[in-house]
């Protein structure tokens, strides 16, 4: 892991533990004879803060020299490298957006219709060349899930206006 990643992840953890500790103060501490609901979370938040701070300090002290050395390159090269190294991330973002949409529309158009669309589109996103195979796969998955989970296990899945 690069020093920048180490520092940024530690920083996020420090901020998370601080936010958690602040939020924990909303609950009663009571006393040692009858510890309240805030005691255990406070201890956990404290330990997490200590660990992430220690990691942050170590990362900062260990990474001073390499960071300065890397900044010397031009901004354009840095941007090009970034986009080159993170080509796949765009697909992850698209799939995340698809999943958000999937969960949102599931309650309106029903589990099976939304799943049918999700399987086709996600398969296409994963570089399936044609439409036929993803459609057949999607149909097969939906039928399998319907007979297994609804027909056999009697699971109640979200139903919408279509199915």
């Amino acid at each position: 892991m690069t020093p920048r990643k180490e520092i940024s992840s530690s920083l996020v953890l420090v901020l998370f533990s601080l936010t958690f500790l602040t939020y924990t103060t909303r609950y009663p501490l009571d006393d040692w004879e009858s510890p309240g609901p805030a005691v255990f979370p406070l201890l956990l938040g404290g330990v997490l803060l200590l660990l992430s701070s220690w990691q942050l300090i170590r990362a900062v002290t260990a990474s001073k020299a390499p960071i300065h050395a890397k900044v010397k390159g031009s901004m354009m090269i840095a941007l090009k490298t970034f986009f080159h190294d993170n080509k796949g991330e765009a697909k992850v973002l698209i799939l995340t957006a698809m999943l958000v949409l999937y969960i949102l529309i599931m309650q309106w158009i029903g589990f099976f219709v939304s799943t049918f669309l999700l399987v086709i589109l996600s398969s296409r996103l994963m570089e399936t060349k044609d439409w036929l195979r993803p459609t057949a796969l999607s149909l097969g998955v939906c039928l399998f899930c319907y007979y297994l989970f609804v027909g056999w296990i009697k699971l109640s899945l979200p139903q919408g206006i279509f199915f």
């Binding site: 609950y27 006393d31 999943l99 399987v119 996600s122 993803p134 899930c145 989970f149 296990i153 009697k154």
Partner: protein
């Protein structure tokens, strides 16, 4: 009770109705274990209404079949697609998946099945003969001992992902923090649920694990710039472990069986803890610890044996004390009560047919699972060669169904997606999800025992470590922290002197 009497009760499992129930339970369990997300607890809860028609013995045999069948099946998806079917198989992903990537998926699956069979049988024999004695030992654990045990577990398990102890501990703390969401286990006060009704019962364990492992895996495959490793076609015979692999697996299976059974007697997520503890032990005593995490067969054999032995061991407190220490045994307890059976010290006296019938079904079920699993190894291994563009959408759907099916709540699906995104980012930044899962499971036990100890002792903090059992566990925990720091320094000092 005479041995003949016990034998006749054990044979109850072989009666046609019980035999068929055992087979169906083991099949459903394997299927549930294979499917990522849908865990044994959720599956058992769904099947309980159906078992009511079968009567107590056949019904409970079917539920027990689902329980240990899922332990067998859980390893399959861990090895083939890096998605643990259930929490106890999380550790199998570390080496099992790496073995699959090297084209040894069949060998890993076969070793997991053989190890599970041996460990399952060992645990049932031990369960049958040592149940009363071991149950008394388990009874000696009070809240202070439970707390010391969870602390010891966290310390020992912090080195499980190998690269950084600090990161493992950070992930465990995050898991423990997530476990505090929902009702406070002592006073019942609602915490960190932000008014969301579904979150009041706590964050869904299934949603978190499915997201961290299943969805994050799909993202990772999608983002990978290089093509996923294609496994070369191999002959059916070559899917089985070779002599070297069998030889290397024998001792880890034996150690895993013993360790798993002993951990199974203790409260908490026994199967999960046992698999991680076995992995840590195998790694620490191995002559080639660098192979762990890169496809070491010992990393599959030991944990798989341990989690199956633990699931047998966990039946002792359930059957003899009426104490469910895992979510799955809690559901099993619910099933028993619905069948009019009250587990506890009187179960053996009042309903020996049920007690020994269920234990007898363990023998039968283990044999069935081995017979079922070994021939199916080839079919499971073929799954690896299914292109990810077809497999990943299917995983997305199964994860969604598994998560939604747990509570019938869309909120859990949102949690799963969030856990998936976070899990993906975590992997990118070198944080492993497995310690977080351990923290999430241990959290409720740890908090309850911590607060109960203080309440019982009237606020005396020293009561957390003053009993002999606690002292031993705290002592081991301190040694586990100190020794890795002290030993290298001593070694370095000795080298300098030389």
């Amino acid at each position: 009770m005479s041995e003949q009497g016990i034998l006749s009760y054990l044979l109850i499992a072989f009666q046609p109705a019980n035999f068929i129930s055992c087979f169906i339970g083991a099949m459903i369990g394997t299927l549930i274990g294979v499917l990522p997300g849908l865990g044994p607890a959720a599956a058992m809860a769904l099947v309980i209404p159906l078992t009511l028609k079968l009567g107590p013995t056949a019904g409970l045999i079917m539920l027990a079949g689902i329980y240990y069948g899922s332990m067998y099946g859980g390893s399959t998806t861990s090895i083939l697609v890096n998605v643990p079917g259930e929490p106890a198989s999380v550790v199998t992903t570390l080496d099992g998946y790496k073995m699959a990537k090297k084209g040894r998926a069949g060998a890993a699956l076969a070793i997991a099945a053989i190890g599970s069979f041996i460990a399952g049988t060992v645990s049932v024999i031990a369960l049958q003969f040592f149940a009363p004695l071991l149950a008394r030992t388990a009874l000696a654990f009070g809240p202070a001992e439970y707390f010391a045990l969870t602390v010891l577990g966290i310390v020992l398990l912090s080195s499980m992902t190998g690269k950084s102890k600090a990161r493992s501990l950070i992930m465990m703390m995050t898991g423990l923090i997530l476990s505090t969401v929902g009702m406070d286990p002592i006073g019942g006060l609602e915490r960190f649920s932000f008014g969301i009704e579904t979150a009041q019962g706590g964050i869904s364990f299934i949603a978190i694990t499915t997201g961290l492992f299943g969805i994050a895996e799909v993202f990772e495959v999608l983002a990978a710039r290089e093509k996923p490793l294609e496994i070369l076609p191999v002959k059916f015979r070559e899917l089985y472990p070779n002599r070297k692999e069998l030889r290397r697996s024998a001792a880890p299976i034996a150690r895993g069986s013993l360790l798993g059974f002993l951990i199974g007697l203790l409260p908490g997520p026994a199967a999960t803890m046992a698999s991680f503890a076995s992995y840590g032990m195998e790694r620490s005593i191995s002559r080639h610890p660098e192979e762990f995490g890169n496809g070491a067969i010992e990393g599959v054999a030991g944990p798989e044996a341990a989690n199956n032995a633990a699931s047998g061991g966990a039946m002792i407190p359930l059957l003899s004390l009426g104490l469910p220490f895992t979510p799955a045994t809690a559901v099993l307890l619910g099933g028993m009560l619905l069948h009019g059976i009250t587990p506890g010290p009187f179960l053996l006296r009042d309903r020996p047919d049920v007690f020994w019938g269920v234990i007898g079904s363990f023998y039968l079920g283990n044999a069935m699972l081995l017979i079922l699993n070994l021939p199916l190894v080839g079919i499971f291994a073929k799954l690896v060669r299914v292109p990810s563009r077809y497999l990943m959408p299917v995983i997305l759907v199964l994860c969604t169904i598994g998560t939604y099916g747990d509570n019938s709540a869309l909120f859990d699906v949102w949690v799963m997606l969030a856990a998936g995104v976070i899990g993906y980012v975590m992997r990118k930044y070198g944080y492993q999800p497995a310690p977080l899962v351990v923290g999430l499971v241990l959290g409720p036990v740890m908090e309850r025992s911590f607060r109960q100890t203080l309440i019982i002792s009237g606020g005396r903090v020293e009561s957390l470590w003053e009993s002999p059992l606690c002292m031993v566990m705290w002592g081991i925990a301190f040694l586990a922290v100190l020794l890795p720091i002290v030993i290298p320094r001593i070694k370095a000092g000795l080298k300098r002197d030389c």
